[in-house]
Symmetry: C2
């Protein structure tokens, strides 16, 4: 089995792949587009994409890609993000003048870096920053990335868990060509559009509220070519194989101009 | 009167300032944070911030900054974004091998650039890319930015309106210290949190739907420190000075754990 993820070896996404799928082959991809293409073109059986971070919010590009591709969501995984301060072996913390990493990781460690008087410099990727550090040989620079990235490149971890807010989780979705039929507690992800008129979203949400179906997420994205109209993405508790969920979706179909089920999958516990 | 905006002189945001406020002094700021700080610290009377693009979606950082600062939204403006291909005077289109600009502008002209076989390279800012082109003297490189940016730096416009999708608008919000009292057709922006329970958002939207109040936007953002709980931002037609809107907000107050009015302001026509 082979699973595509975005980033270099040692990326948080690769850690999530191993946590979720166990021991599998992985394919590092340059972009989220490439992850989807790897699954569509059969180079990989699955892709694992980040969809939301508990601090930074949704990864909107992946919402747009889910709509553009005919793939199914078959699982979700939550990864606690713990950043490490990583340097060449033998380097001490007081030698560090500069930290390099992806802007989001730098932002999540901003107070920690300020406290140590370390300057931040953005690069394209977290695991990539460790690779760059290895290649440069710099002894006044640290990378911020996962424990695994440090291990892969034979670098030293000066400190682990340097994120300012420990409630830092990323939610990942497993995507593949064949829809799943989850048993036990499940979630379903859908996308739909509505007529642009007063009360439209209220009516759409009524199909869930009137059946006591719990929504776990709502997200809006611009509808291309129709300024200030939106696509809505909703996650709810339940599976399309259950009667209540099926009736709710039939009911939503009466109001929606477009409605697509992106997948039903076991809820992460 | 002095108005803060994010970007270099010639940025689309500065064009929006002149369109909305007329002839005023402007203060270019490095970051959106700096725009808010300029207004809070009285260096500027107003700030003008982009909140949403019709193709790319919301600028979430500005939603977060509206919550963190005690400023009021007093106006909105829509700017049609028209990108120009900009080069040194005398350079011909067929000389161009590379285009530099902000990643979002490059993305919005991707098909156009592909058609001409021009490579794209990301830099920090649209107007900044024209400044960089001027300083480098490169004759095989074009910048992608506004007409005004080309004029400010004395560069040549090779082609105007090169965006792939002409329905490219950015919505801006004017922010200041004192709340407005709009007359005529108005919009109101609010932010609130709800109990995390089934039907909570449905009840919240009912206060508008039951009064035939039209929502124009809903946006969710993560609630810091409470993974998978959300802040909701809503724009609706109406002003807090009108009885129906005031009753709807009182009603919402019965369900909301937190509710704040960010401002009522004249609707853009």
């Amino acid at each position: 089995m082979k699973v595509a993820f975005q980033g270099e070896s040692g990326a948080y996404s690769e850690q999530a792949v191993f946590n979720y799928f166990g021991t599998v082959d992985t394919k590092p991809c340059e972009s989220f587009d490439a992850v989807f293409d790897s699954v569509v073109g059969d180079a990989c059986d699955f892709g694992l994409i980040p969809i939301e971070n508990s601090l930074a919010g949704s990864i909107h590009q992946n919402y747009d890609l889910l709509l553009r591709h005919d793939l199914h969501i078959v699982g979700e995984h939550l990864l606690r993000v713990q950043h490490c301060l990583i340097a060449w072996p033998g380097v001490k913390k007081e030698d560090i003048k500069k930290a390099i990493s992806h802007p989001q990781a730098l932002g999540q460690c901003a107070a920690y870096l300020r406290g140590l008087g370390i300057k931040a410099e953005s690069v394209y990727d977290t695991a990539g920053s460790v690779k760059m550090l290895k290649e440069s040989g710099a002894r006044d620079t640290a990378a911020i990335a996962s424990r695994r990235a440090a291990e892969i490149y034979g670098m030293q971890i000066l400190e682990e868990g340097i994120e300012d807010n420990s409630e830092n989780y990323t939610r990942f979705l497993a995507i593949t060509k064949k829809a799943g039929e989850p048993e036990g507690e499940a979630k379903t992800s859908i996308v739909f559009t509505l007529r642009n008129q007063p009360g439209a979203l209220f009516k759409a949400l009524s199909v869930f509220a009137l059946r006591d179906i719990d929504l776990t997420k709502i997200e809006s994205r611009p509808l291309q070519g129709k300024p200030w109209e939106y696509l809505f993405y909703i996650d709810f508790i339940g599976a399309t194989g259950e009667e209540t969920a099926r009736k709710a979706l039939d009911h939503l179909g009466e109001y929606a101009l477009m409605l697509r089920v992106l997948g039903s999958y076991p809820r992460y516990k």
